[in-house]
């Protein structure tokens, strides 16, 4: 088979799977993140500060395990950018082989109106100032240059994987959409504070969500849906984390109205959306039951994927392989579970891991080699 055919076959394999069509084999999508570094001779800090080393690590990873596509090509945690501004909220610990990201607060509870009145002023003088208080014109330029270098590295890796390894990219970086509540939860108010705001400042919080959605997210969605994304696994990408703190009633009130509009537009334009669901989704299953098949992929983390499959036969599911097994099971156990996943989930299943694989004990090399050889040939 020619190189071009390998690439086109992979694209078709993913797209057919998303449309719940019968395929010759299941696509194998890597959800490995910093585990790749721990599987290499380099320390976390060495790799994350040196794009040449990171490139070698990611290429070695592919040459060893041969996935069809990758959620991460070494571009998560661009700490060089935030370090140029005096450091962010990541703590890279080579001794414990971990990266911690702290829940942090950059906005006070009584500042919603300021955010609504003039978002640029608020971001610059409050949010950015609190995160990077020692910014100077020189540091700003350095950080901008680092962000551009990061973008160039991202482009280089994407092109290399397409051209040399014939692996399609999962999504276009310009087609990443984020719910406004995610900004409040992940970045501005933090998990603990925004949980209180849900009860005490619901109206202000909703005002911010609705304004950001109308003025920023809808134009971004329209632009994303106009892109030619035929060479990607999916047309748009939507990461979800903040739903983890919501009840179904809160989800219906502050998250679903916007997400529904997005999904409706995706369906209307006959496009696809890859929803990466951290935490669990089962309690929100009712919201997804009427979505036409062929448009939505849910990548599940902590859910029972078999249960979700029963509840949502209209949705393509990704994930399944557990890090409990990859890290602690035998190759035989891992292969048996892989077979069960493929046999029971049938068409519309993208084989992947049930979390962003990050820690040494999440996986062993022996198990991953055994699983991927099985997937290629089953």
């Amino acid at each position: 088979m020619s190189d071009q055919n390998i690439y086109e076959d992979r694209i078709k394999l993913f797209k057919d799977t998303i449309e719940l069509k019968k395929t010759e084999r299941v696509p194998n999508l890597s959800n490995f993140f910093t585990w790749k570094i721990l599987d290499s001779p380099y320390k976390l800090s060495e790799a994350m500060n040196d794009y040449d080393k990171m490139e070698r690590i990611v290429c070695d990873f592919h040459e060893r395990y041969h996935f069809d596509a990758y959620m991460d090509l070494g571009t998560r945690n661009p700490i060089r950018v935030t370090d140029a501004l005096g450091g962010g909220d990541h703590e890279v610990n080579d001794k414990t082989e971990s990266i911690n990201y702290y829940d942090h607060v950059l906005m006070k509870s009584d500042e919603y109106q300021e955010l609504l009145d003039n978002e640029v002023k608020f971001l610059w003088t409050k949010v950015f100032a609190r995160k990077f208080p020692d910014t100077t014109p020189e540091k700003l330029i350095n950080a901008v240059q680092e962000l551009m270098a990061y973008g160039q590295f991202n482009d280089k890796m994407t092109n290399k994987f397409v051209q040399e390894y014939h692996c399609p990219s999962v999504f276009n970086m310009n087609a990443v959409l984020m719910h406004p509540f995610e900004y409040l939860h992940n970045n501005y108010r933090g998990i603990k504070e925004v949980s209180i705001d849900l009860r005490k400042r619901r109206t202000e919080l909703k005002d911010v969500i609705e304004k950001k959605f109308e003025t920023q997210m809808l134009p971004a969605l329209d632009a994303a849906l106009d892109l030619d994304t035929s060479a990607y696994v999916c047309d748009t990408y939507f990461p979800m984390l903040a739903h983890a703190i919501l009840s179904p009633k809160q989800f219906e009130d502050i998250y679903w109205p916007q997400l529904k509009q997005i999904i409706d537009k995706v369906v209307e334009k006959d496009k696809t959306i890859y929803i990466f669901c951290e935490s669990t989704m089962l309690r929100f299953k009712d919201f997804f039951q009427d979505i036409p098949k062929g448009h939505v992929i849910l990548h599940l983390e902590q859910d029972d994927i078999f249960e979700i499959h029963k509840e949502l036969p209209n949705i393509c599911l990704a994930g399944g392989m557990t890090t409990d097994l990859l890290g602690n099971g035998t190759p035989r156990q891992c292969i048996d579970y892989s077979k069960k996943l493929i046999d029971e989930l049938g068409n519309g299943f993208i084989f992947s891991q049930n979390k962003m694989v990050s820690f040494r004990n999440d996986c062993t090399r022996e198990n991953l080699l055994a699983v991927n050889e099985f997937i290629r040939n089953y």
Partner: protein
């Protein structure tokens, strides 16, 4: 550190609006003038999310 403490420690004329902001926009000389402010908005949104 509480936000009040953080705020009281910030004495940075560059992080003011509109003066410091305009200075930041103008410093992006490698970009066409009409693109600078949009780029800077995108930049601060991105890095405050990192």
């Amino acid at each position: 550190m509480m936000l009040e403490e953080k705020d009281s420690a910030i004495d940075n004329p560059f992080l003011t609006y509109p003066e410091g902001w305009n200075q930041a926009v103008e410093s992006l000389v490698f970009l066409p003038e009409e693109m600078r402010e949009g780029f800077l908005i995108q930049f601060i949104t991105t890095v405050t999310s990192m």
